[in-house]
Symmetry: C2
């Protein structure tokens, strides 16, 4: 920056003001500075400006993994908004228990970002408390944490719509698959299970514990065991409601390789509207995944600019799809 100042024949203060677009710079000075900056292809040191302003111009995302359709799309939405705002995207992926512990212990994002988006479900109270120690706004994505900035759909309603769809098809024994990770993080909000129970109740059907399973979803074995369990019941279900399409697709794969006709002998319902859902004839409760990421990033931005702007956002309702 000193070089630019020298070349333009002004002080570094003026260069700084010009480059930040402050209006208190005369047009001709601005011109000279911009020219000098271009000629030297100057890039500002964010480290230096962060040191002064306390702003990093980076947003962190905490995610249990990067290689799923759901989170890939969510983060893609986040990324788009940040790019427009010229904010950088820092990704912390926490894929097993050791990493989960280390993350909350060290909090590497501390002093390293202006806000954090959390795409994991089911943080412990201790973990949530640790996030407060981050000293930055935290936005919860795709889940509703009361009292905290959250971007979410109505998962209870979504699950109810899905359930009603299955009930309309005549199903009375419906299994529900809530799944988790190696980290112990669940894959979706527990609200979907609430919607499942609520619909059963409304329909006057019993809630049967043996129909609700919590497989570890990232290993095919987990799904295989869960499906095996369901098939081995004396009174097996005729439909499976998976909390996400990625789980539903695995379920279909397992059923198929077990020679179980889908949907003849077993219907499968998903949640999300995965881009392969149509092609696989998977019925699903659609939600605007990328929009949720986008909205979360926008919420983070507005909170950074104005810490009071903690308006809670709800994205459009879930809806059935074919």
């Amino acid at each position: 920056m000193a070089d630019v100042a020298e070349r333009a024949g002004v002080s570094v203060s003026t260069v700084s003001r010009t480059l930040r677009g402050l209006s208190s710079v005369s047009p001709q000075t601005r011109g000279r500075v911009e020219k000098a900056a271009r000629e030297l292809s100057f890039a500002i040191s964010r480290s230096a400006s962060s040191l002064v302003t306390g702003k990093t111009r980076r947003i962190a995302v905490l995610t249990p993994h990067l290689d799923s359709w759901f989170l890939g799309n969510t983060i893609a939405g986040v990324s788009g908004v940040l790019r427009e705002a010229e904010l950088d995207l820092l990704v912390y992926s926490v894929t097993d228990l050791a990493e989960r512990g280390a993350f909350f212990d060290r909090l590497p994002a501390r002093r390293n970002a202006d806000a954090m988006l959390v795409t994991c479900f089911d943080l412990t109270p201790e973990e949530r408390a640790r996030l407060d120690a981050l000293g930055m706004p935290v936005v919860f994505v795709s889940q509703h944490v009361p009292g905290r900035p959250s971007v979410y759909i109505d998962d209870v309603d979504g699950a109810q719509r899905g359930m009603r769809h299955l009930l309309n098809l005549g199903h009375r024994r419906i299994a529900f698959l809530q799944s988790s990770d190696d980290t112990g993080f669940y894959w979706s909000s527990k609200e979907r299970l609430t919607g499942y129970r609520k619909t059963l109740e409304e329909a006057g059907l019993p809630y049967d514990e043996e129909l609700v399973l919590y497989p570890v979803a990232r290993h095919r074995r987990g799904i295989r065991e869960a499906v095996g369990h369901l098939l081995s019941l004396r009174n097996p279900p005729t439909a499976v409601f998976a909390e996400s399409d990625e789980v539903a697709i695995e379920v279909m794969g397992v059923l198929r390789s077990s020679g179980v006709d889908v949907p003849g002998r077993m219907s499968v319902l998903g949640f999300d509207d995965h881009h392969l859902a149509e092609w696989l004839d998977l019925t699903t409760v659609a939600q605007p995944v990328e929009d949720i990421g986008r909205a979360a990033a926008e919420l983070a931005r507005s909170i950074i600019d104005d810490p009071e702007a903690c308006l809670l956002y709800t994205s459009p309702s879930p809806r059935d799809t074919r």
Copy 2:
């Protein structure tokens, strides 16, 4: 850090040395400093240390998108290595032409990371030159850029193995789908096309231009048109070799919805070993996607530590799979 120093009754220099793990600190001093740091739950300001050292302890990844299986897994591999090294991951996703232009124009990663991993294919010479202006090591991922640090498999060989598999099955008219993005970035190395051509040549089969297509892969329409084109040929192919499983899966979906029996009337071969390949009965040329990401991150690390360490890495060869 001044607070920690005061609490421990030492100078900030000593705190700095202790926290960086330098050995020139006496055990009892170290103990006091660590205690003080813990009590104050001190976190170092990376901005301040970057300003002095010139190191950001961040690695940037340039990617054409985040929501594909291939790049999700690649970046997951990168992420794992960086986490162990306590390096942060900065993601620049460039999903259309405007963003592509803006990225190479502004180079937001400049002065903002210690190295960059490039997961896009087919950068123009100008873009490649711009990357030199980054002033940081650049590692090419999943492609071989001669003279540059690159992590890649032998794509020619991989494609040849795939082609031989199809030839062994008796196919003589084999289409090849190389696909691209909205950004104009290709989805895989052009070497695969080379392998395709080479195998045809070896087998004494003609190279037929109308069998080689370049659909825009992110829109189903692109795939649909490509498949439609192939089916409408007077002498249609009996097999399609897609340069990636994600494209292959889309192709299968389109064929299926067009009532074309797979593999009865048309065989489909992919590349990557997508986690759904088995379940969809997709034959594929396997490559260790996550390992490639991991290796790229490790290469970047070693280059940062020692700029001479530009050893070129080749990951294990591709191999056929079920």
